[in-house]
Symmetry: C2
Subunit: 333 residues, 2 copies
Amino acid sequence: MTSIKDVAKVANVSTATVSHVINGTRFVSETTKVRVFQAMKELDYKPNLVAKSLRSRKSMIIGLIVPMVYMDTSNFFFMAIANGIETIVKQKGYNLILGNSHEDLKTELEQIKLFNTQLIDGLIIAPTAEDVTEYDEVFSGDYPVIFIDRKPKGYDGDLVMANSYQGTFEAIETLIKKGHEKIGFITGHLGMTTSDDRLTGYKKAHEKNKLTVEPSLIKEGTPSFEEGYKQAKELVNKKAVTSLFVSNNVMTMGALRFLNEKQIKIPDEIAIIGFDDYDWMKITTPPLAVVEQPSYEIGEKAVHILLNRIKKGNERNKESVLLPTQFISRGSV
Amino acid sequence: MTSIKDVAKVANVSTATVSHVINGTRFVSETTKVRVFQAMKELDYKPNLVAKSLRSRKSMIIGLIVPMVYMDTSNFFFMAIANGIETIVKQKGYNLILGNSHEDLKTELEQIKLFNTQLIDGLIIAPTAEDVTEYDEVFSGDYPVIFIDRKPKGYDGDLVMANSYQGTFEAIETLIKKGHEKIGFITGHLGMTTSDDRLTGYKKAHEKNKLTVEPSLIKEGTPSFEEGYKQAKELVNKKAVTSLFVSNNVMTMGALRFLNEKQIKIPDEIAIIGFDDYDWMKITTPPLAVVEQPSYEIGEKAVHILLNRIKKGNERNKESVLLPTQFISRGSV
DNA sequence: GTTAGTTAAGAAAGCGCTTTAAAGAGGAGA
DNA sequence: TCTCCTCTTTAAAGCGCTTTCTTAACTAAC
């Protein structure tokens, strides 16, 4: 492997000059510049990023930790985010190093500790913990951290997430305006801000339209296909509801499977609205109405804030960005 | 930031001893070991991975380059692969750095060049080029490279991909056994091994069952939702086919959308089989029969081979692994 | 001709770690 | 007592860069 020394020797200059030519950090006369470039080409020189990182204390690497569970459909959401992040990060000359917490706090903390070794210049994380204090021991402030999608209790740092409340409110209100008074609400575990916000949207829509919220219509459970199926079954079999709002895509699929199996007519017998928008929702019969999250944009915005922090240092006032969700009406309502 | 020097000073030993304690690379007496560990804890010491990489010439980072197009559903396949790779890589103490070629050769080559800087110990790539010679200038052999999912012409290095042929053959034969003689084949661009292999499976199944392949029933196009819709429309409207095989999931969705729109009865009027298995295929009406790819396993196997290469050095005989695809029969046939 | 100011480039230190060569302490054998 | 091992530890070089401090060469000013 050729080093900066070899280049310097061939170009007959010092290593300092080569470095300055590469980075444009000091004026170098045109003639020597040419000599250096020529030498670099001749030797097929590739700067060693590791050495550069060590000396300059910048790795040009951004860490990303997402909570993906094997074969879980909710992954699509985080994948879309990862995709957005990767694209922007590359545009800015950074690299993305990917970590997965598998929705497990211990794994997540391990992951963070690994990053706590001068490896990354900044971190974007969709946290699994419900309370910030869980992170006290691992975040030492060596690099900026941006939270996405979820807000643990007590967190007051930079944050980018979708406004789950808004989209849900619109969706529920649409159902109410169509005459539905018994609306089932199927959700993953509460306690997570995303779930809580959606529930709040559900309740506020009822409130505004002078409907009372019936607690038995709110079903909480593991965010899985099976659980979605089960909850839908319970609500529908009791004839308790005329419509369903399912607050994540995995459970939506489970619920849809139940309705399909029982040949329940959508939306005539039961209207249904899901969360997150994916192509497959267009090909169910009928197409599924959903609350759409701006996944790519979440990633985009998070990178934006992060790079600013890296450049300007950690400032006092933190950003808390809520990107709008949108209700998309389709045949299922 | 505390360094190995600080630890050495506090523990009253040399930096060499600290290094050996951390890495277990030499015998150190129990008493000094204890002193060192204590000092490390006291100072909250975290080894600097960058410095370690520079000195030991190993970054413990694996590169992964996938061809994902924004909002394209085929991404799910690569994301599943990435997920598998990330999991295994972490288990083995490595990190994953993610690159996206966006299905564009120039971007891909840039990406590789970036990695050619001592940044990674090995690379896994789903290549975009149709011919290996495209990679001649960038692969200098500094680190092992494993190709996945696609085999460019002339490539004879390590390779892990699904046996597209096998699954397709089974699927087509199933259709034939059910009495179908006019089977439409909708595919993305040919020239890519994955597409070609599927077409071969289609042809061989015809051959074996003494059916002639009608070229007009084979439709090639951009792998997009719209194109899938269009091709299905053409084939069905001409009443040319009684069944459809769609060789990727995006086009499958397009085709399904068409059949749904026209209220064509599946499988009575048209039977249909897709490629890649995702949860949403279970909730279409009727559930969609598919050829399933072992995406997670592809990632898993690729990492396995790669780490072996890293450990043992590049050996002569390369591995070419074909993982089985499986035909899953559901209501749509 | 001397001094000061300006410009381009070099010398060398050092980032935090690994690793080789060497050294000190203690015991055994003569 | 001296030599020769063995066992544990240390000293120090160096990975490939960046960056501070200097220097050399030239020009301008008096």
